[in-house]
């Protein structure tokens, strides 16, 4: 199958997956007994007539299937609904924050992939050496570290004690900047601690994958053959081994996007970084469920696109996959 057909087929599969995702998200939100008006208005609750008015307003008095189809219908027309809390359109909330989230994610993801690949290759090539052991133990510790705790430790050392980097918000508030460049530097300083937390966590996670993929590839016959033919060791490693190990690595990275996003939400929350993850946590506290559903759909679409990209990248490097 030519690559173009594979891409088309792979893209079409997104449609049923997307509908399944909407079902999963809708079910999760409606798992709890009762309706959201029961928990609005704090411990004393709302008077029944106001509850009924809210239910009518948001269509909560309809049967659950009708609610689902109404929601899907609006979703397909690009209408994510309005927040319970401030009546802001949900898509607008997302649009305002998505840039900050992407900035954080992409910076951290690129840096951690680079570090993880370099360290992973070194560890696999020097299998069972001190370097390998040190990297592996380090990665296991990083892998076991609670993300929010790591963020607090970084804040405690670099912000509270050393006063090197600010610990919250993407910009300094109320400080006049001499030039746009100063403002940019200030932004970078704010970006530093959240990005470093994510890099530590993600590198630990990705390193384990790269190392095991490399170890696997290095046992293949063509590596032995290349060595036997007298090919230089670094060429064996980069041309013969790493190129083939990149295949599973690309899939792993694509598949782990969802996992990585979970950590990012917590990091955003702790550093008061007003991105999608922090918004998600905050709206969960407020039980603002149109916002929650809209946000989840937006995040799910992001994950779908990331998976699509990684699958296409895989098919581009490895023609075998297209014949599945």
């Amino acid at each position: 199958m030519p690559l173009r057909d594979y891409v088309i087929r792979r893209t079409i599969i997104i449609v049923p997956t997307f509908f399944l995702i909407t079902i999963v998200i809708f079910t999760l939100i409606h798992l709890a007994p009762g309706d959201p008006t029961a928990i609005m208005g704090g411990p004393r609750g709302l008077p029944p007539e106001i509850r009924d008015a809210i239910k009518r307003e948001y269509g909560l008095d309809q049967p659950i299937l009708v609610q689902y189809f109404v929601w899907i219908g609006k979703l397909l027309r690009g209408d994510l609904g309005f927040s319970y809390i401030n009546q802001q359109p949900v898509w607008q909330m997302i649009a305002e924050r998505i840039q900050l989230t992407l900035e954080l994610l992409l910076t951290a993801e690129i840096v951690s992939i680079v570090i993880a690949v370099i360290l992973g290759v070194i560890a696999a090539v020097k299998h069972r050496s001190i370097t390998d052991a040190a990297c592996s133990v380090g990665a296991l510790v990083g892998y076991s570290t609670p993300d929010f705790w790591l963020a607090m430790v970084l804040i405690l050392t670099f912000s509270t004690q050393l006063k090197l980097f600010p610990s919250s918000q993407p910009y300094s508030v109320g400080v006049p900047f001499a030039s746009p460049f100063d403002a940019f530097l200030d932004h970078l300083r704010h970006l530093f601690l959240p990005v470093v937390s994510l890099i530590i966590l993600w590198t630990a996670y990705l390193f384990r994958m790269v190392r095991s993929a490399m170890l696997e590839v290095l046992t293949h016959d063509y590596v032995t053959t290349a060595r036997a033919k007298g090919v230089k060791e670094w060429i064996v490693i980069y041309k013969h081994a790493l190129r083939n190990a990149m295949l599973p690595i690309v899939t792993y990275v694509g598949n782990s996007v969802g996992f990585l996003l979970s950590g990012a939400a917590v990091i955003e929350y702790i550093f008061a970084w007003p991105g999608l993850g922090a918004l998600m946590v905050q709206r969960t506290e407020l039980r603002d469920y149109p916002a929650l559903m809209g946000l989840s759909i937006a995040i799910a679409i992001g994950v779908l696109i990331a998976n699509l990209c990684s699958d296409i990248a895989y098919a581009m490097v490895d023609p075998r996959i297209r014949y599945d």
Binding site: I39, G258, V266, T284
Partner: protein, 298 residues
Amino acid sequence: MFRRSRRNAEDKKEKVHRPSRATRLFVVLRKLKKSEMAIAGLGIVSFMSMVALLAPIIAPYAPEWKGIARQAPSMEHFFGTDNLGRDMLTLIMHGARISIYVGVASVLIEVVIGLSVGMAAGYFGGIIDEILMRIADVIFTLPTLMMLLLAVSMFQVRGIHIIILVIGGLGWPFLARVVRSEYLSFREETYVEAAKSMGATSWRIMVRHILPNILSVVIVIATMDIPWAILYEATLTFLGFGDPASSSWGVLLQRGEEHLRTSWWIMTFPGVALLITSLGFNLLGDGLRDALDIKLRE
């Protein structure tokens, strides 16, 4: 005479074909013993479980005991006191009970669902398989924390059991996928065919012939998922979706964050406890995986 000789023949045959269960267990234990990491993991896990079990006896103070608030670590209070004057070491010991309980309980739920779904998908095949696996894929690819938040957000009551239910209820897809593929590969074995030809029901084949063979994979995945369950519980309670009155490590860490700038010890020690516990289970999981020689494929 006849009977006896037949039994002997059977014994011999069994020995030739595969080592007995005890021998296999011995081989695994020997491999585990060789791996220092696995031993370290087992040590940490046993230590933490002992602390959790014996917390009411060995804790230096009662959990309700209150002294002077926010004392730095000293000989009287090794880990200091929190903002209400309670002894941090005591609270952490009692928190271990919650963490270990959550880890084990939610993974048990996960195993029950994962086994049932994986076996059902493999057994029925066709459209049921397709639907179950698509659902598993979706749950597997979506961010776990996002789904946990969605599921937790709508419950009126907040507490440890909701969290266990939610973590276990969302954790099964990977296990289900592995169980399904293992089931499919074991279904082709000759002994399954033999059992079938002798009229064994499919239930019996599943439980008596296939389940024992995939048990080791299930144990490894379950062990590797316990630290995640523990970490997600701590994360959820840290974010304020647990029971604020409990001494879960997540609650202690939440308090630690409030007093981060004045009392570093409130947030440091529960975090270290969490890190060590999850490291212990990860080491044990990795060690078991290597000792049982399992390649986790999907």
